[in-house]
Symmetry: C2
Subunit: 344 residues, 2 copies
DNA sequence: TTTTTTTACGAAAACGTTTGCGGCGAGGCA
DNA sequence: TGCCTCGCCGCAAACGTTTTCGTAAAAAAA
């Protein structure tokens, strides 16, 4: 089962030229005559010659591919972001290798090492919920592997970062609930170790405080695996629902968390928003057909993916070591729908 | 910005051995003494030696990577399927390179050629909605590139195929609507050229006929880009809704089509299922929180991805040319929810 | 004409592996 | 002692490129 393509050597033999001449002709070198160039190019086109990218990679020490590590591809936010990555990468002739950590620290390490040994030219990373230590990535970065973080970033590695304005998104979501008249707003969020968790938590707290309310720690629940394990979300939700002074609204901080919470509330026959209101962070394209339609903070996932890829390729192709890194913050959008409407 | 790792050559130099001895020791060859092997292995481990996969690819003519072509990763069915692909591939130490055709014939061709020139060892393909001719894939397959089709397959290329039992899925969905008392059931489906379209259409028709009803061609609408372009879906839906003898139920044949249809009905203020019932093909994990919760045919996406990958790797690693190909058909599951309940 | 420059090409090394083959020393056998 | 076998290892070619350098012949300058 061998798959053989035409090589430079074949062209050289066919045209009675040397390998190096053909190579140079193909790359348009000035030291080859117009006539020879034309001959080579014509022959190459006619025989559908495609340079072997593996040989090129070996020779050039670059593979023209970038690795992506996300927790989960089966998630609206990340699939949209990857869409963005893919579009930019393709346009600049890079391949994309996608891997999933599934919120596991172990798998994140394995993936990063595997990708680097596969000689990707750079990495686009969104950290797993379990990750507390980023040494595995710091090591690779120190060795010269360019990387860009997006969404779930870390302060410990100095490189480009792309995030949504999580603070503002959360602030506005919470303020919206407050404006609707809700007073006890629970916050169900992801693992404490994630940057997005902290940022969104701060936005939530600030909105409460600006409204003269004191954030109640009992109303803040951390879900270890970001909603991937339904049982965890269920426990967090039950905990706040069983409180004596039950909250009148919930603000969920991630995609999976939001849909799961809505689903659970429905199973418990708790009416949204009459008995409890809900605002979530989600990029689901179906949020408008949920029951009730879900008010949500939408992140510019596609743009984030594109921007991260742009920055990464910039890093990869930069002649001299880059020392000035940027942290791009893109605005979110609050889509107000029924799940947050006050019912009188 | 160079990223340099330790090579066989470094090990050889350090231990005063030849390159070939080191290589053989690392691969556990019998012609190397136990002692030397141990030395080499120990040194390699101590210095975190990782063979350069690019050099190995070049030498061995295999890249240990497989390419995937789907229309759209941002789609529940496909992201789940890719999940399956990734899990099996990873386990067998293959890389996965994912590309999207976005339902474009051109992009499908470009992707397949790009992947084959990237020397993937095999391809997992689900055809685009625009694709009518599969010569580009047939050519690659004839040249010896193993491939497995899933979901949207073709009869024109003889290789392994993995599909859901679309006929039965559609049959049961339609029968369910009939049992609920609906009589005029519209069918909104994808491009005529897709295998899934035909199979689901046949199931739909058969159920009607078995119930003594004659399928009405006017009730069957084909949407060219499988729901990717909302306007097309909107037109198809409007067409059936504006009929004098308006249908009392709709059966949508794909993921995006189903969510879009529900969304559109809602925007038109048409109550589901009171004014019109709906059953869809979808793998959305949120179908239970839709308004109304959506009765749907669920495909075993994960298993399909896993199976396709198993078969592909089998093909890739087979010593002798495979001539007997299988077509695996996995059962779907009908999840009955509110959108198909008869309201009296 | 002779010398210098330019043009156009080829030889060969290199990227990091794998692998067939040949060699060398030691031990076994006659 | 001579021959064969066998265990262990190194040499070198190969995978398909890119790139440096060398070198003919042709063109320009003297």
């Amino acid at each position: 089962m061998k798959f053989e393509a035409i090589t430079i050597k074949d062209i050289a033999k066919a045209l009675g030229l040397s390998i190096s001449t053909v190579s140079k002709a193909l790359r348009g070198s000035h030291e080859i005559s117009q006539e020879t160039k034309k001959n080579v190019l014509d022959y190459a086109r006619a025989n559908n010659y495609k340079p072997n990218p593996i040989a090129q990679s070996l020779k050039r020490g670059r593979s023209k591919s970038i690795g992506v590590i996300v927790c989960n591809i089966d998630n609206n936010f990340f699939s949209q972001a990857i869409n963005g990555v893919e579009s930019v990468a393709r346009q600049k002739d890079y391949n994309v290798i996608i891997t999933q950590s599934r919120e596991s620290y172990e798998r994140e390490i394995a993936n990063s090492e595997h990708l680097s040994s596969r000689s990707v030219d750079g990495l686009i990373v969104s950290l797993s919920a379990e990750t507390r230590c980023v040494d595995h990535l710091a090591r690779l970065n120190a060795k010269g592997l360019p990387m860009v973080f997006f969404d779930r970033i870390t302060d410990e590695i100095d490189t480009h970062k792309v995030i949504a304005n999580n603070y503002r998104g959360a602030y506005e979501a919470t303020r919206h609930l407050l404006e609707q008249g809700f007073r006890r707003i629970a916050h169900i969020t992801s693992s404490r170790s994630l940057s997005i968790t902290l940022e969104r938590l701060e936005g939530y707290k600030a909105a409460l405080q600006d409204a003269g309310l004191q954030p109640d720690p009992a109303l803040i629940k951390f879900v270890q695996h970001g909603g991937m394990i339904q049982e965890e979300t269920s426990q967090a939700l039950s905990a706040v629902l069983e409180m004596d002074d039950r909250p009148d609204a919930v603000f969920t901080a991630s995609d999976r968390l939001s849909t799961t919470t809505l689903s659970l509330l429905r199973k418990m026959n708790i009416e949204v928003p009459r008995q409890i209101a809900l605002v979530g962070f989600t990029n689901s394209i179906s949020a408008d057909i949920f029951h009730p339609s879900l008010t949500c903070v939408v992140q510019p996932a596609l743009e984030m993916g594109q921007l991260a890829t742009d920055l990464l390729i910039q890093l990869i192709e930069s002649k001299r070591p880059v020392t000035q890194f940027q942290k791009k913050v893109l605005e979110t959008e609050l889509k107000i729908r029924n799940s947050s409407q006050r019912v009188r």
